[in-house]
């Protein structure tokens, strides 16, 4: 056995984490507030849509995913005070007005025959933007000082990937004709246009600059 009193490097040779990160405390907190707002809007919409979709498998998936995004919002809610924001509601805000318009447009479909539009908005536009913003945060923030945020993002990203795959498979199973495909594409384009204006879940700079 190695001598227990022999001096060892505080960071093992395989631990390559570094201190520098692109975000200070305020910037990390601002982004976390945007994430919480966006996750809240998502779980509320998924819950509301359950009663409006006739497809039983979709109904059950929406109910399941509703909770996952509520849990993400809760994780971010708990992270905010740790980032010196003692009033989490203050930073629980959309990145900008375009993001508010995006959510309004995404949650607009209600009719029984609009399941494709509902799913496209969430799984082809909104959730991919979450995956992008979270991945950027994961890669850009300090691996040591902002480790709690990194851990939370890793937990959330697993859900996002799982849900994206579930949603995408549901969409593919519902698109049966070229007309259905055109509907899906048209709705996606409409929402993407607003999302481009918003700049992503955390606004311009969601993916860096």
């Amino acid at each position: 056995m190695a001598d227990p009193h022999k001096a060892r490097a505080p960071f093992a040779p395989w631990d390559r984490r570094t201190l520098p990160g692109l975000f200070d405390v305020e910037e990390s907190a601002r982004r976390v507030g945007n994430y919480k707002w966006a996750e809240m809007k998502l779980f509320e919409a998924l819950g509301g849509w359950v009663a409006t979709v006739p497809e039983l498998d979709v109904k059950m998936r929406l109910g399941t995913h509703c909770y996952k995004h509520a849990w993400h919002a809760e994780l971010w809610h708990k992270r905010l005070p740790e980032l010196r924001e003692m009033n989490p509601d203050r930073l629980t805000a959309p990145a900008n007005d375009a993001m508010v318009r995006f959510v309004a447009a995404m949650t607009e479909p209600e009719a029984h025959d609009q399941t494709i539009e509902k799913l496209v908005g969430v799984y082809r536009v909104y959730i991919p933007r979450f995956i992008a913003a979270y991945t950027y945060h994961l890669n850009a923030t300090s691996e040591i000082t902002d480790a709690p945020t990194i851990r939370t993002i890793k937990l959330i990203l697993q859900d996002e990937f799982d849900d994206w795959r579930d949603g995408e498979m549901l969409i593919q199973s519902l698109i049966e004709t070229p007309d259905d495909a055109a509907r899906a594409a048209a709705h996606q384009q409409r929402l993407e246009t607003i999302m481009i204006e918003a700049g992503g879940i955390a606004g311009p700079g969601s993916l860096g600059s």
Binding site: M40, F43, E44, A45, L46, G47, G48, W49, V50, A51, T52, V53, P54, E55, L56, K59, M60, R61, L62, G63, T64, C66, Y67, K68, H69, A70, W71, A73, E74, H77, D89, T107, E108, P109, E110, H112
Partner: protein
């Protein structure tokens, strides 16, 4: 998507058929005779036990769909903070997941019991109780009254699985029962918390709960008596935050509903007897005169 979704517009595929509570209870096929103190509790000894259990399982299945829809609408219908606390909505989202899982379990169990989706009609009264414009009333009506009924139903079904030697059914019902106790407790906790400084609102919510409890005791379907197919699960209700007085009150309402139904059935049978006698008399007289 609008706030507050009407029950008439609940989205269903082609297999589902909706009936009202009144239509269901007045269905002649479900009227039971006036056999005094008969045991109608759902047990394997009942002659119609197989169909009774299948019907109850289908009722659980559609009830879970509506509970899922109701919890989902509470996430959407109320503004966070100004109309409903953030944590309350998180609980409702959690309930969405639980109810979605219960739908999955019910579909699998129905299949196990030899029933297909749509074999029985759907009564949407559960969702109606979830349509109140006050979130506290929804919690009282859905989480305390209806999920309370679910505790009674799952306990009866679990016992049925045990008596019938069906560990698969018993196992699943026990898991769902654990979730229902959690949901009722959520309702009890939020009711106390949100109305802590608003006794009038609490009174209104409890009155609403009582109305829903009475509605779901309609026909004496659930009571302490063995004449009801479903029993009152007192112990699990206590775990879920019901006080002794509240349990007694539900027991009284249920027994009253059972007695009302028995009186109605007795009257119906008496009416039928007099109709038969009246119909028989002239025809007999005609036969005599003719001979």
């Amino acid at each position: 998507m609008r706030k507050f979704f009407p029950v008439e517009e609940l989205a269903r595929d082609e297999r589902f058929h909706t009936v009202t509570m009144k239509e269901r209870m007045n269905d002649a096929r479900t009227i039971r005779g006036d056999t005094k103190n008969a045991n109608f509790r759902l047990t394997p000894e009942r002659r119609d036990a197989t169909d009774g259990a299948r019907g109850l399982m289908h009722g659980i299945f559609v009830g879970e769909i509506q509970a899922l829809e109701g919890a989902g609408r509470t996430c959407w219908d109320f503004e966070t903070g100004s109309e409903a606390p953030f944590e309350l909505k998180l609980d409702m989202a959690r309930q969405c997941w639980d109810e979605a899982r219960h739908v999955e379990i019910s579909v699998k169990l129905s299949d196990w019991m030899g029933t297909e989706i749509g074999s029985y009609a759907e009564n949407t009264v559960l969702f109606e109780a979830a349509c109140s414009s006050d979130p506290v009333l929804r919690l009282a009506g859905v989480n305390r009254a209806l999920e309370g009924l679910a505790i009674d139903v799952f306990t009866t079904m679990k016992e049925f699985g045990n008596l019938a030697g069906d560990p698969y059914l018993e196992f699943c019902e026990d898991w769902m029962l654990a979730d229902e106790v959690t949901h009722v407790k959520m309702g009890s906790d939020w009711l106390r918390k949100v109305t802590e400084k608003d006794p009038e609102r609490r009174k209104k919510a409890l009155e609403f709960q009582s109305i829903v409890d009475k509605l779901f005791s309609y026909g004496g379907t659930r009571s302490d008596s063995n004449e009801s197919p479903i029993g009152l699960a007192r112990r699990f209700r206590e775990l879920a935050g019901f006080t002794d007085d509240e349990v007694e009150s539900i027991a009284d309402v249920s027994m009253q509903a059972l007695n009302e139904r028995k009186a109605a059935v007795k009257k119906m049978l008496a009416d039928a007897d007099s109709f038969t006698s009246a119909a028989a008399a002239p025809s007999g007289a005609a036969a005599s005169s003719g001979g």
